[in-house]
């Protein structure tokens, strides 16, 4: 695999190269790291990453497909990364969101990638951030990151995305109760999809009750009927206005810095997982308390070498 060639082709927007690059990263191939190093930083800087989450059946895929259509009408290249959970039993997955993206399959201005969580807790897979950067470097002005919102994953997506939208639909009232504390507060925009259906009114009331500040309600709640494309233009307009505000005020840069830190931490922990497992196995301790043992292993593995290195630096060698 010629990395330089692949990077050139993906910067031209070549679909197969984008796809190959994501696979290499996902598989933990050394080539993947080399590719990520060479990506066009400026494009990544300019791209907007929109996280889309919400309970199953709320219409996320349909809404994403509509957003893609309208972004294409605005002549923007778009990427979408759709994440589905891996089966905990077999490790396999059915990646079904593709179905609703098929109408864009033949459009070279749309990059689609379905990914499985591959055992990572939360709703994201560890390569999601890298996949998004590859798409951005291939010229996508907007990348949508879609995941089923169950538990922790919503917080993950908020941490990774520039702007997060939470999609809800009538008939999911109980979920809102459960989510009130977390996601409603941190999602940038709350979308009531299927707003023409019975039950939408109740959902509106529930949401309004959750957001006490009237200005907040005005700003953050939108309504769509994704199956008919209604409300999608307004949603995109709102998103771009928000993007502008976030960029101008420096908030976007802060969000990205935090996201980079988190991804680095995440990846570092991921890299440590195997060596740690090995050491724990090697120690074969039967009597020590697990917490105490963990502290000791980490100290020897990470903290002591770091101190030693610092000492070396100080003393010069």
């Amino acid at each position: 695999m010629n990395v330089d060639f692949l990077v050139q082709a993906l910067h031209r927007g070549d679909a197969r190269s984008v796809a190959r690059a994501i696979t290499l990263v996902e598989e933990g191939d050394a080539g993947g790291t080399a590719i990520l190093e060479q990506l066009d930083r400026e494009r990544i800087e300019q791209a907007l990453l929109i996280g889309v989450t919400g309970p199953p059946g709320a219409g996320k895929s349909t809404l994403c497909a509509q957003m893609i259509g309208q972004l294409r009408d605005r002549d923007l290249r778009v990427g979408i990364v759709a994440i589905d959970p891996s089966s905990p039993l077999s490790g396999g997955a059915i990646l079904g969101d593709r179905v609703r993206m098929m109408r864009h399959a033949l459009d070279p201005g749309v990059a689609v990638r379905s990914m499985a969580t591959r055992g990572r807790l939360g709703g994201l897979c560890s390569a999601a951030g890298a996949a998004v950067r590859i798409m951005a470097a291939s010229g996508c002005r907007v990348v949508l990151l879609e995941t089923v919102g169950v538990g922790q994953s919503e917080m993950d997506i908020v941490a990774l995305a520039d702007i997060t939208i939470m999609v809800l639909a009538p008939g999911f009232g109980d979920e809102i109760q459960a989510m009130k504390a977390g996601i409603l507060e941190v999602a940038d925009l709350l979308v009531i999809n299927k707003a023409d259906q019975p039950g939408a009114q109740r959902l509106r009331l529930d949401m309004a009750a959750a957001l006490r500040d009237p200005g907040d309600r005005q700003q953050r709640i939108l309504e769509t009927v994704a199956s008919e494309g209604r409300g999608v233009t307004e949603l995109l307009d709102r998103i771009f206005l928000l993007e502008e505000a976030l960029r101008d005020g420096g908030a976007l840069e802060r969000r990205r810095r935090r996201s980079r830190e988190l991804e680095t931490l995440d990846q570092a922990l991921e890299l440590l997982r195997e060596p740690l497992r090995q050491r724990i196995r090697d120690r074969n301790e039967k009597t020590r308390d697990p917490r105490e043992l963990a502290r000791e292993i980490v100290e020897r593995m990470v903290i002591m070498p770091a101190q030693a290195a610092r000492n070396d630096d100080e003393h010069g060698s």
């Binding site: 059946g57 219409g59 098929m102 109408r103 009538p170 008939g171 299927k194 259906q197 008919e228």
Partner: protein
């Protein structure tokens, strides 16, 4: 002898007497081979309240024991073999052959481009023209299809859903040319768009405009085609997609509820259209469960119509149905075994009180059926009708503890599923949020896993296999059929009056936008040879297209 139960006497004097006057029974006496007289209707020793409530008498609410008082003693079910392939000319020959063989109704199979509203020359039609049914592009094809078949003498069932209005209009226009008025036409259009979204997949428009087309048809037919069944609400394909028997009943009746509600919302009165609703179920191999299923469906629908919609006319509460044996149970291995499977399934449909029946052919797991295997399939029905004796008495399995318990259980399970659908916002919401398809998918996967693991035995497939050479002659559609059909269509399009065609299509568009009944403008359009694809194209523009 004890005095006759007054309710029984009442039934005899009303429903039974009226029925005997209209349809005398097929024979003076029905007897077993030894000469023993066969009773018309076997009853419990004592007719109590519970019996009347749950079973009652045939031809009377809740219709558990059948929709006619004498059932097949009066008239056998309609033997209706679904057929159609390649061109209109070839299908016409098959229909006339089947009618010669004693078949009593036609059932038209259309190819997939026709079912999805594409002309044969559309790029989407590539490879599919004439494959699973006949290709119909314009009225010209329809004229050939019914050539020398008198439409006032036969009843015709058309398996057409999303573009049902266009094909119905073509049928009316052909009849006009034969000098047969629409009010003399008998038959059925499937016209059940809702199940296409969860099984079978020949949808075109989103659910709501599809419902509007359907209610437009209800209204037009109520005025012009009083003897035609305007819809065949179909569980068949839901079952073929892998559902359980109870799911088949539940999702079919839930769709029925949606159509009734849509028609009421469009301002139709219940009794003008409800009597023209027909149903279509699958006849699977599990004989006793299937018999119970048909009986449960009949009773549940009657109760829904009465309790939920306040129907008063018994005809509005009657679930009349067509049945077809289960294509998905046929095996490519040891194909002759399929004749036995079909026999059991057909028997289930008859014991369950079907109004018409299609029996699948032995070779359908391999390809379209040959003429010979279609004949065997028809003979299977004829043997059940004339030799088995099951048609000589009404609802013969009633009163079996097993059958009655199973009937109750299926009704209860279906009721519960319908409740869940209602609670989640109705059928359209459940199509959109995937509830119905995921239920079916779960059941299908479970069943298939049981087969794969050998927990369920499929003779010849996972047990009792033999080495066999592929020697079964199969019917193949010549790829040239597609090219010929495209050629004919192009010729016809070149010869039409362009102005007239354009104007007719404009009228269709206008009616689609304005909300006036679409049937008249569509009828005018087919009369001047606008093609199916052109008419559906206009409707696609106005209504949009559904994608799952």
């Amino acid at each position: 002898m004890a005095a006759k139960d007054p309710r029984l006497r009442d039934w005899e004097e009303k429903e039974l007497a009226a029925s005997l006057a209209r349809f005398p029974e097929r024979r003076q006496h029905f007897t077993c081979p030894g000469g023993r007289e066969v009773e018309r209707l076997a009853l419990p020793d004592e007719i109590d309240e519970r019996y009347c409530e749950d079973l009652g008498f045939p031809g009377r609410y809740p219709f558990t024991r059948g929709v006619q008082p004498t059932m097949y003693r009066g008239r056998l079910w309609t033997m209706r073999q679904y057929a159609g392939f390649s061109t209109a000319r070839a299908s016409n020959e098959r229909y006339r052959y089947l009618l010669d063989q004693g078949q009593t109704g036609l059932s038209i199979a259309f190819d997939l481009p026709t079912q999805i509203g594409y002309d044969s020359d559309d790029p989407m039609a590539l490879g599919e023209v004439g494959k699973v049914g006949v290709a119909i592009d314009t009225l010209a094809d329809m004229e050939i299809l019914f050539d020398r078949i008198p439409l006032d003498k036969i009843s015709t069932s058309m398996t057409i859903n999303s573009p049902a209005m266009v094909l119905l209009a073509m049928y009316v226009a052909v009849a006009e040319k034969q000098g047969v008025a629409a009010d003399r036409l008998r038959g059925t259009i499937q016209n059940d768009a809702l199940k296409e979204y969860v099984a079978r997949g020949t949808y075109i428009f989103p659910p709501r405009p599809s419902l509007r087309l359907i209610t437009d048809i209800f209204r037009w037919c109520a005025d012009h085609m009083p003897r035609f069944n305007t819809i065949s609400i179909s569980g068949y394909h839901i079952r073929e997609a892998g559902s359980t028997a109870s799911q088949e009943v539940a999702f079919t009746l839930a769709n029925g509820i949606t159509y009734v509600q849509a028609a009421l919302d469009a301002g139709l009165s219940l009794d003008t259209f409800a009597r023209r609703l027909a149903f279509f179920f699958n006849a699977h191999s599990n004989l006793l469960e299937e018999v119970a299923k048909f009986r449960a469906a009949r009773r549940l629908w009657a109760r829904i119509m009465k309790e939920r919609f306040g129907a008063t006319d018994p005809a509005s509460m009657m679930l009349r149905f067509h049945a077809q044996t289960a294509g998905s149970t046929l095996t490519a291995q040891q194909v002759d075994n399929n004749i036995v499977r079909v026999t059991i399934q057909a028997l289930a449909a008859v014991l369950g009180g079907t109004q018409s029946l299609h029996t699948n052919s032995r070779d359908e797991a391999l390809s379209l059926p040959t003429e010979e295997s279609v004949r065997t399939a028809l003979r299977t029905q004829q043997i059940i009708a004339h030799e088995s004796g099951v048609a000589d008495t009404v609802d013969p399995l009633a009163g079996s503890w097993f059958i009655e318990q199973l009937t109750d259980a299926i009704e209860a399970e279906a009721r519960e599923l319908i409740r869940q659908v209602d609670e989640a916002g109705g059928v359209i919401a459940c199509i959109e949020n995937g509830f119905i398809s995921s239920q079916i998918e779960e059941a299908s996967y479970r069943y298939q896993q049981e087969v794969e693991q050998g927990e369920r035995i499929i003779v010849g497939v996972n047990a009792f296999q033999v080495e066999e050479e592929a020697t079964v002659p199969v019917l193949k559609i010549d790829p040239a059929v597609e090219d010929e059909q495209v050629q004919r269509l192009r010729q016809l399009k070149a010869q039409r009056d362009r102005e007239q065609v354009a104007a007719a299509l404009r009228d269709v568009e206008q009616a689609a936008r304005s909300g006036t009944n679409l049937m008249e403008p569509v009828l005018a359009a087919v009369r001047c040879y606008c093609s199916l694809g052109e008419i559906c194209g206009v409707l696609r523009q106005v209504f949009g297209e559904y994608r799952d």
